[in-house]
């Protein structure tokens, strides 16, 4: 990225220099100089486009893991006020609506699982449907699916997938209000027919990880984490249903923007005023997709527990937290001393409530919300905690992953899937996948350095590091 267009506020916060004669909202980019300099210029172009959308409150922002997305950059955060003509954008939410990470802590140590790791990886791979063309065991007619879209993880628990305690540690207690299944097309529902309880493809994964390092003992204790402990992270979203909603409403919102005279600097920023019929219709469908994703991760957590129980009897897997990173949420935030109700778009960005936020479960209230930065299959992931500082400067948002440094096409030119899997096995990381192409595209070297992203996230005050998780076995789509 051309850094000459940025003003340095501090080591991990930059603002975009206003263009001569052009009046736009401010743009703030978080990250170290090295991370920003390595970003594609498209990230700059996309976030400056977001700043031109109507009703934006404060700055349009990028997180330290930002990379080139569609319309919005991935790692983009923007809040809009419905009372000031603020918009809702399908591109600002993303296609995989409510994609996120469920993190489960176990009562096991690395010593406990090492003799069983191969068995565990194989059993997880054969139990969790992953990859293109794979379907789950559960089949839903559209009318049955409506119950999922209204009930989210709450619905899943009622069906026996998991335990009620899980809900305490899921965003929105497992079910977001305002879902309108009638706003979801039959095509979307039919597409989801066999996709509940599936992992998907691309960067989605189920990973068995070991807590490698603790940065913050007090927070780790509250999160129930200690060095050598095994945790499981599940990264996926609303599957075909969310994508179908995203693609259908993209066209609907693009036409609405045109009809309502909203000038779109990029067609992919398709949006409509929050208070417009199209805007409201999309919000109802999006909330239905959020519930779909929450239910999906709940079912996957249940399947994971069943596998562990079979391979390592007496293993317990408790939900540490479940947080999405492709959403638009209605939240209260203080702006210039005044509390306002805002629609906060987080496209590839994690909500990160600080200590004492009323939405947090009692157990975490003094520490802050667990934030999960998922890394590549060869490097590792971070658990962080939300900060009060982030509430003040970034609408309580933080990074969500390592962020790609190289395109999938470039990755295919650099790596071969089989060779990569063998190399990772030599390093003690077991990969199970049906797609050698997928493995190559997801090569650790195709991602930014997750350590630098987590460090910058902490230095910027967006969230503070609690623990580093090292992968031991990864099921890839």
């Amino acid at each position: 990225m051309d850094m000459s267009r940025l003003n340095k506020i501090d080591d991990t916060c930059w603002s975009v220099k206003p263009a001569a004669g052009v009046q736009t909202a401010p743009v703030r980019m978080y990250g170290s100089e090295a991370l920003l300099a390595a970003m594609d210029d498209k990230v700059f172009e996309q976030i400056t486009n977001v700043a031109k959308l109507p009703g934006l409150v404060g700055a349009a922002m990028t997180m330290p893991d930002a990379h080139w997305g569609y319309g919005f950059p991935i790692g983009g955060v923007a809040a809009f006020d419905p009372e000031q003509g603020g918009i809702i954008s399908a591109g600002g939410v993303g296609f995989d609506i409510s994609c996120g990470i469920r993190c489960l802590r176990t009562n096991l140590t690395l010593t406990d699982i090492t003799p069983q790791l191969e068995n565990l990886a194989d059993a997880l791979f054969h139990t969790i449907p992953a990859g293109v063309g794979e379907e789950g065991q559960l089949k839903f007619a559209p009318a049955q699916l409506d119950e999922v879209l209204l009930g989210g993880a709450e619905w899943a628990v009622r069906q026996g997938y998991g335990v009620p305690e899980d809900l305490e540690y899921i965003e929105e207690r497992g079910r977001v209000a305002g879902a309108v299944p009638e706003n979801v097309s039959d095509h979307a529902k039919k597409r989801q027919r066999g996709e509940m309880g599936t992992l998907g493809s691309g960067n989605h994964y189920l990973e068995v990880q070991v807590v490698d390092h603790i940065y913050d003992q007090q927070a780790a204790q509250v999160f129930g984490l200690s060095e050598g402990q095994i945790v499981v992270s599940i990264h996926c979203g609303s599957r075909g249903l969310g994508h179908q909603i995203g693609t259908e409403y993209l066209v609907t919102l693009a036409k609405a923007a045109s009809r309502l005279g909203i000038t779109l600097p990029d067609r992919e920023l398709a949006c409509a005023p929050i208070q417009s019929p199209e805007g409201q219709e999309y919000i109802g469908a999006m909330n239905a997709a959020i519930n779909c994703a929450l239910a999906n991760r709940q079912i996957l957590a249940h399947l994971t527990r069943e596998v562990f129980d079979r391979i390592i009897p007496n293993a317990t897997l408790e939900t540490l937290f479940d947080v999405s990173h492709n959403t638009c949420k209605v939240e209260k935030h203080k702006v210039d001393g005044k509390t306002r109700l805002l629609y906060v778009h987080r496209k590839g960005a994690t909500r990160a409530f600080g200590p004492n936020h009323p939405a947090l479960p009692e157990r975490y209230r003094a520490i802050g919300q667990p934030v999960i930065i998922g890394g590549s299959m060869g490097t590792g992931s971070y658990v962080l905690a939300g900060t009060a500082e982030s509430e003040n400067q970034a609408y309580s948002s933080a990074s969500h992953g390592a962020g790609r440094a190289m395109s999938r096409h470039q990755a295919l030119r650099h790596w071969r899937g089989r060779q990569l899997i063998d190399e990772l096995a030599e390093r003690g990381i077991l990969i199970r996948t049906r797609s050698m192409r997928g493995a190559a595209e997801e090569a650790p070297g195709a991602y930014k350095d997750v350590d630098l992203v987590a460090e910058a996230t902490e230095k910027a005050g967006l969230a503070r590091r609690v623990a580093f998780l090292r992968p031991k076995a990864c099921i890839k789509g």
Binding site: W68, D96, G133, K190, R191, S407
Partner: protein
């Protein structure tokens, strides 16, 4: 101009390019490009035939709708497609696709979840037409 497809770089996803003598031929080639990300389409048999239809006056939006309708049909029925045909009568589009249900032994690529408006363009080039967009994987 012979129909052909190729790809272009995008940080997170994949850009597809379909080329052909006409816009319709370019759309067909773009569909081949998209499904070739998910499987080796030369190994896919013509066992199942589906039809899709839609109305759209905007040529660029029509490309995105065409690709997404194919993805929807494929996912709803658990199919992988390898051959396509498309006809246009002003704003009326009628398409067909041939393929088969996924077989266990098929080498899997990466799931394409949707065609996007990013880098979307349908334009006449020197030797024919080119249709391109980024697909979300």
């Amino acid at each position: 101009m012979r129909s052909s497809y190729s790809y272009f770089d995008h940080d997170a996803d994949i850009g597809i390019i379909g080329c052909g003598e006409t816009a319709v031929a370019a759309f067909v080639a773009a569909a081949e490009a998209m499904f070739a990300i998910m499987a080796d389409i030369t190994e896919v048999n013509d066992v199942v035939h589906v039809q899709v239809g839609f109305e759209e006056s905007d040529l660029e939006l029509a490309l995105v709708i065409w690709l997404n309708r194919l993805l929807t049909e494929a996912r709803m029925e658990g199919l992988i497609f390898s051959r396509f045909a498309l006809q246009r009568n002003e704003t009326n589009w009628r398409g067909e696709a041939w393929g088969e249900p996924w077989r266990a032994e098929m080498e899997r690529g990466v799931e394409v979840k949707g065609a996007t408006l990013t880098m979307l363009s349908v334009k006449q080039v020197e030797a024919g037409w080119e249709a391109r967009c980024v697909v979300d994987v």
